[in-house]
Symmetry: C2
Subunit: 310 residues, 2 copies
């Protein structure tokens, strides 16, 4: 048996601060067409894929901040991406900064959507594990203001039936938390899509910089193996407005093996024919229903901080 | 700042079916003395370290089964290990099959103890994630009858203040479950000790055999990084009564890096000076209290099996 979904991880090089969404969408459409030539069913674009990663900068003016967000999806500038994908018969994942009015209140999220081959939205996810800080850090060479500009995702990790399997989404820092994978696996995920913008420098912990690439893939490889799912993780990479970000967009099998990864820090497409049935053997190996000992797991869901013994 | 604990991972080669506990303890005492020469504070012995790994065989006779278990710890045959460790001023971790009478009922567990430099017991743990099966599998070249011979650990993952830090224990298959690390980290673990007996062949999934070593270390490396702890994992290795088991006893830093690993499948000691303060930077990086979003984690502790969308 096999259930092949051919997936393209469409890594993005840096996006200039003044680059228009239309120009970015044009780059994405080029990748869509190349993916079509390579037989893709699904193309995965990164987190906040339509603009430079603005949480790296301090922005005080609210109108200026809001201008980095999408108020509709698709909107006038993203409609051509939806149209071209539908014309080619390719689904896609797109990360974007979401501005919405709910209950009369303006809300901002770091979000992603999954779109089917017919151009219709299948799923929508709001990043749960926001990294970074709220305050300005004058000593840092760049900021990481996600906790200032976004609200924490207010909806659970979710999966959807799509592309012949069960698909879920994480965004960037979600991938460093083992709970993210497990929650998706508990909803049957066979394929997890992850966009990210990850600097190769941690201002507060510079001694960790040499390990950024390693730890990035380590979390996802173990997440894939322990949760029996494919992972397709896609970077915005390269030096963007002075901030250097990792590449290593990766397609990872349920064995934990990396089966494809990018080799540049620019726009680059990697493609793999993912057999969703590969996840079955690992689902049988781990057999959650028989082997998970939930009576011991309570503190994971009730206790946030560590409490060492007295 | 540094809090160095010098730890020896005392890998064991195979133990013959007819080998006496006294003979095994004599091998362990040789490793203790070598560890002392190398300045160890703590020596870690494997899971079920005193005998061959009997769950690989079908045993019908109850008296014969019980003979593989320890009714007291220390008992007459293990007392010399306790005595020599105390004489040398070295603490140790020892895995063993535990037979106990509680509430008038005979109970069997796959257990481990942590013993201080003074020879006094510090902690005791009963394996929670038992692998394998209950029934005889005639087509398999060996059995994996842990679910038949042991009860599931009935006490939580626990940590203890010892060796200048906070120490916890997992046993073998516990290491493949992300919850095991997280539960220990929520109790402040800076050092996790793991003994294992891991065949290099999975009769039900032989196509996974080539990945056994990789997946073994993958789980622990990500467990260390995501939970900011040192891991010392120790094998019973080599071909034991016809069952071939992996080695790769490993000392893993909170960065996820393997800093030492064995290179044989026999009795082999590897030593590393582990700085428990290394875990602090990663505890600060992940900052559980600020960043864990427990309001979303409920299903991890309430739902054992996966439930895909309809």
């Amino acid at each position: 048996m096999s259930r092949i979904v051919t997936i393209g991880a469409a890594q993005s090089g840096p996006i200039l601060r003044e680059e228009s969404r239309s120009a970015v969408v044009e780059r994405q459409i080029q990748q869509l067409r190349e993916a079509h030539r390579q037989g893709c069913d699904l193309v995965v674009f990164p987190e906040v894929a339509l603009t430079a990663f603005f949480p790296h900068w301090w922005i005080e003016d609210e109108a200026e901040l809001d201008a980095w967000f999408e108020r509709e999806m698709p909107g006038p500038e993203t409609q051509p991406l939806f149209d071209e994908a539908a014309r080619l018969g390719i689904g896609f994942h797109l990360g974007y900064a979401e501005l919405t009015f709910e209950g009369g209140k303006k809300r901002r999220f770091n979000s992603a959507i999954l779109v089917g081959k017919d151009g219709q939205k299948i799923g929508h996810f709001r990043k749960i594990h926001l990294p970074g800080h709220v305050e300005y850090r004058p000593d840092n060479p760049f900021q990481n203001l996600e906790k200032r500009y976004f609200e924490f995702g207010d909806r659970p990790f979710e999966t959807w039936r799509a592309f012949g399997g069960v698909v879920g989404i994480q965004i960037c820092n979600d991938r460093r938390w083992s709970e993210s994978y497990r929650l998706l696996a508990l909803k049957g995920a066979e394929l997890v899509l992850i966009g990210y913008n990850t600097p190769d420098h941690i201002p507060e912990h510079p001694h960790m910089d040499r390990l950024t690439n390693f730890q990035h893939q380590l979390c996802m490889q173990s997440g894939a193996y322990q949760n029996a799912c494919w992972i397709v993780a896609v970077a915005k990479a390269g030096i963007e407005e002075g901030v250097s970000m990792i590449g290593l967009s990766s397609i990872i099998a349920p064995s934990g093996e990396i089966v494809a990864q990018t080799k540049t820090l620019g726009d680059e497409l990697i493609v793999h024919a993912c057999d969703l049935d590969d996840s079955k053997a690992y689902q049988e190996l781990f057999e959650f229903g028989t082997n998970r000992r939930i009576q011991h797991y309570g503190p994971i869901a009730t206790q946030a901080a560590a409490v060492p013994p007295p």
